[in-house]
């Protein structure tokens, strides 16, 4: 596992070094090309701004109102079906939050880890969940929005299906390994 962690630590510095050096050796005007490419960053950022704001407002109003906790309570029987014991119901808000908002989910996960301890069952499950599913809803609206796609077809269903599988397997494997 340490090897993988080292690769992750070195990946960006190495890319920052190797790409410009190779480009220079291949006679690319490195600085000018870099600036040309970077220009696109601004346009893309501005283009996705309305989608970010729209999504964040709706999610924040929902979560801050306390509706997330009510929904978590209602959904508890469903989570019991996939093997989550009632003692660990504190994890449910995170599971709901995860596909909606990355920063929101990270906040919930951090709070769970600090409250129950990183090496508790809930702490480990929260860590695994946070690391293993993505903010599907968010990625979809921003990515599609950035190129002007209005009809998502089956994309959302497929993404959410993957999230549910990730959730079920997370509960199963953490129970199996750590409980």
């Amino acid at each position: 596992m340490n090897v993988i962690a080292e690769i992750s630590r070195w990946a960006i510095p190495l890319l920052l070094l190797l790409i410009p050096v190779i480009a220079y050796l291949r006679k690319v005007p490195v600085y000018e090309s870099f600036v040309e490419g970077a220009e696109e960053g601004f346009k893309t950022g501005v283009r996705i701004l309305p989608f970010l704001i729209g999504m964040l407002v709706s999610i924040r109003v929902f979560v801050d109102s306390g509706a997330l906790n009510i929904l978590s309570h209602w959904l508890q029987p469903l989570f019991a079906l996939i093997g989550l014991e009632a003692d660990f119901a504190a994890i449910i808000p995170l599971a709901i939050m995860r596909p909606l908002s990355g920063s929101g989910a990270l906040g919930v996960a951090t709070q769970l880890i600090n409250e129950y301890g990183p090496d508790s069952f809930i702490g480990r499950l929260a860590s695994t969940l946070q690391g293993s599913t993505d903010t599907t809803f968010f990625v979809l609206t921003v990515y599609f929005g950035s190129v002007g796609i209005k009809k998502y077809r089956y994309a959302l269903k497929l993404g959410l299906l993957a999230d549910i599988i990730g959730l079920i397997v997370s509960v199963w494997i953490v129970t199996k390994v750590f409980y």
């Binding site: 109003v61 993957a162 990730g166």
Partner: protein, 193 residues
């Protein structure tokens, strides 16, 4: 479906706030979230510009084509509708690599770049193409070898073994990704016939 979920979250949030007698929270939350949206976008402009600048260098040096040639054969099977030399493949591979290594803020610029390239080959500009849906399914379910952020959180919370969740994360993401690829494959096959 997105329109409905968006409306439901907003409306339910407001109704619950009203019932709890904290209706003024809605105003604060909405304003704060709008501000946060700008912050996130501004930050993203910085990282996007950095990575898209590097991406341009890599393209002009022929590196992106090289990477696409090495990993292309495996990835191309998942995207049968793309031209074999499609520039989208390079961006897709870079995005997935960044995801696998847990480099979240490098993944987004490559992902948005991939979407732009995919859009160029999309015959119906306002409807998602099958290649886009496959890409997004891969992107959101992608196997993660280093969940870097959460390891940092665990470290700060004084975990005895902050990296012990790497194994469980790999299993969970691996299963999710496998299912996403499988289901996507069957949906595409069924829609074609």
């Amino acid at each position: 479906m997105v329109n409905l979920i968006w409306l439901l979250m907003l409306a339910i949030g407001i109704i619950v706030s009203a019932f709890n007698g904290h209706i003024e929270n809605v105003t604060i939350s909405a304003m704060k979230a709008a501000e946060l949206g700008v912050e996130v976008a501004i930050e993203l402009i910085g990282v996007m510009s950095l990575w898209l600048g590097l991406m341009r260098l890599a393209e002009e040096a022929g590196l992106v084509k090289g990477i696409a040639r090495i990993f292309g054969p495996a990835i191309r099977r998942l995207f049968p509708s793309l031209r074999p030399d499609s520039p989208a493949l390079g961006a897709i591979i870079m995005n997935l690599s960044a995801n696998i290594l847990g480099l979240g803020n490098a993944a987004t610029p490559f992902g948005l770049k991939a979407m732009q390239e995919l859009q160029k080959e999309n015959p119906t500009p306002d409807v998602a193409s099958p290649a886009m849906i496959t890409f997004l399914a891969l992107n959101t379910s992608c196997i993660t070898l280093i969940p870097a952020t959460i390891i940092g959180v665990r470290l700060k919370a004084n975990s005895v073994n902050p990296t012990e969740i790497i194994g469980t994360t790999i299993v969970a993401t691996g299963c999710a990704m496998f299912m996403a690829i499988l289901v996507d494959y069957f949906i595409r096959r069924r829609r074609k016939t």
